[in-house]
């Protein structure tokens, strides 16, 4: 029983990590209707940039002779992500207005390739251990008192994710820009007609998802180092998306938790019987099974079709 609980909790924590990536997808999809495949590469790129700012063997250290403290590094990386968002709007999205969704989707795959190559050229392709001072190892308190194994980092990740969701919720509900974002998500043309600048909104929304990617990059980077495979977490986040619905923030969170737990439980209890390493596709099958019952995902808007 204890073991089962441990499995579930570690699944929940892994799920939080997936949710972090899925969140970035949902934000962009809601505001601009773009299915941003580059989200995983965003996380990789943010992680690489952050590592460069705060470590002793990056460009930044070479140029200026000192490395930034972690908090300043995070702010600087945020600046980089805003610049990336602005460039994406300026060079890509602006020219693809009114194209079919699949064309936009393909352009984000192109973007993913581009950022991947750029990241490799700028920062090198070796594995970089990102250390921003997050705790690691098992939680001693739980292990000593309850004989319960939980990674400290995963607990911190869960707390940060919760904080992130609260901050985003406040941002969306209470601020002026947040209201504008929701208006755009609701109806592009109506938003345009009351004087909301779509371009500005796109830059903001891509920056916000860049910020989410940065958080995801920090978490995954602290867990297993900043490396190319980080960009593949985008593939992990996709089943979360279809499970929760492309347009729902709570869906991304709950979907992530379901996938995380389902994956861990299946890997441990069903994996050995069918050869193991099933986590690559199990999440997809789980999501697919859900979809057959609810084609719009758990929390997606009901799909209404008219001729």
């Amino acid at each position: 029983m204890m073991f089962f609980l441990e499995t579930v909790i570690s699944g929940l924590m892994a799920g939080v990590m997936y949710s972090l990536v899925a969140l970035g997808f949902v934000l962009i999809f809601k505001a601009s209707g773009v299915f941003n495949f580059a989200q995983g590469v965003f996380a990789l790129f943010a992680g690489l940039a952050l590592y460069d700012f705060i470590s002793m063997d990056g460009w930044f250290y070479e140029l200026f002779g000192f490395a930034l403290p972690v908090w300043l590094g995070i702010i600087a990386t945020m600046g980089v992500m805003v610049i990336v968002a602005w460039l994406v709007e300026l060079l890509v999205l602006r020219h693809l207005v009114n194209q079919e969704p699949i064309i936009l989707f393909m352009s984000t795959i192109g973007l993913a390739y581009f950022l991947e190559g750029l990241g490799d050229i700028l920062f090198g392709s070796d594995v970089k251990p990102l250390d921003v001072g997050l705790p690691s190892g098992a939680s001693d308190y739980l292990l000593d008192n309850y004989n319960f194994y939980v990674e400290k980092l995963e607990v911190v990740a869960a707390l940060i994710a919760a904080a992130l969701v609260i901050v985003l919720a406040i941002f969306f509900q209470k601020t002026r820009i947040g209201r504008a974002l929701r208006a755009v998500a609701d109806d592009h043309q109506a938003a345009l007609s009351v004087g909301i600048s779509l371009r500005m909104i796109w830059v903001v929304v891509w920056s916000v998802s860049g910020f989410v990617a940065l958080v995801a990059g920090i978490m995954w980077g602290s867990k297993s180092g900043v490396q190319f495979s980080l960009s593949l977490i985008a593939l992990k986040a996709l089943p979360v998306l279809i499970l929760g619905g492309f347009t729902s923030v709570p869906g991304a969170i709950i979907g992530g938790l379901i996938i995380g737990v389902g994956e861990k439980v299946a890997e441990i209890y069903a994996g050995p019987f069918i050869g193991g390493a099933i986590e690559n596709w199990f999440a997809y099958m789980l999501a697919l099974a859900f979809l057959l019952v609810r084609p719009q995902g758990l929390f997606g808007e009901k799909i209404i079709e008219r001729v």
Binding site: S107, I109, A112, Y113, F114, A277, W281, M285, P295
Partner: protein, 358 residues
Amino acid sequence: MFYREAGQFKTSYTADEAIFPILQDRFFIGAILIVAFGVIPFFIDDYWANAILIHFLVYALAALGLNILTGYCGQVSLGTGGFMAVGAYASYKLVTVFPEMNFIVVILMSGFITAAVGVFFGLPSLRIKGFYLAVATLAAQFFLVWLFNKVGWFYNYSPTGMIVSPPREVFGFLVTGPDAHPAARYLFCLSFVVVFAWAAKNLVRGRIGRNWMAIRDMDIAAELIGIRPLEAKLTAFAVSSFYIGIAGALYFSVWLGTAEPTEAFDINQSFFVLFIVIIGGLGSIMGSFMGAAFMVLLPITMKSIMVDGFGFAVGAAKHAEVMLLGSLIILFLILEPHGLARLWQILKEKLRRWPFPY
């Protein structure tokens, strides 16, 4: 001046419905076919066959398959790599279990097996649409690659997990294995591609193809006018997977000779074929070929320019290549979202009026 249909009168329905109704088009295609069948085999060597020609033919066939599904029926699929793996492993099992079977039959059978698998993974398309479906097809991609990795029966329990294509003859010429002459392998692939391109062109012009296009343009309206979505979508999945399966079988047995699922059939294959289709032009048979030529030649050209021309290190050139590829794709989508096929069409329009455009 030269490309002009004035004076070419059609006196029968058959003539009117010909694939290439214009005389110049027929000359053009005929010339290409004559060069492809009659000239290239005499000059082909291993490098040209492996790096460019067979490479191109295999991807053109896979792109044809995906174009039928995505371009004509509107169902976005990211499972191409997985379906190619089905074709490859089916051909491997058939060749090793029935060594006497004619190799052409083997390839066709692998196509049919892939079609069955494709129909199975196409079932969700009846319920879900758009990006939800695209992600659902990723399930096929990951599941199939995992399956071929884990289940020993598929690779005959070989200790490395690799599959190796044994030498096989067609009409007395060796077409697979290391000793096969490049010309024989090339002609074998070319014949498949030509026959199936012709079949695809006719298929999409007929009733089935029109049903697909109706479903693509608006599935509810199509249903209302009496097209069965179940039938249309599943036939699209079947035909498309058949093509992709044959491409996968040729990819493994004729082109590479050895394969290992995680490398040869990973998700980048799916994206690569999707790029071919988008760059070539959605819903165009000709476009699949042009897209394949573009995507096959681009990395080779870029590599030779950067490594040989400017003396880049191979590693840096690889990264720069990925970067350039990404930006070229974006640029292409911005400049011509309808792909090379559209450019070709524009060129033909211009050519008709040339040299007096007014």
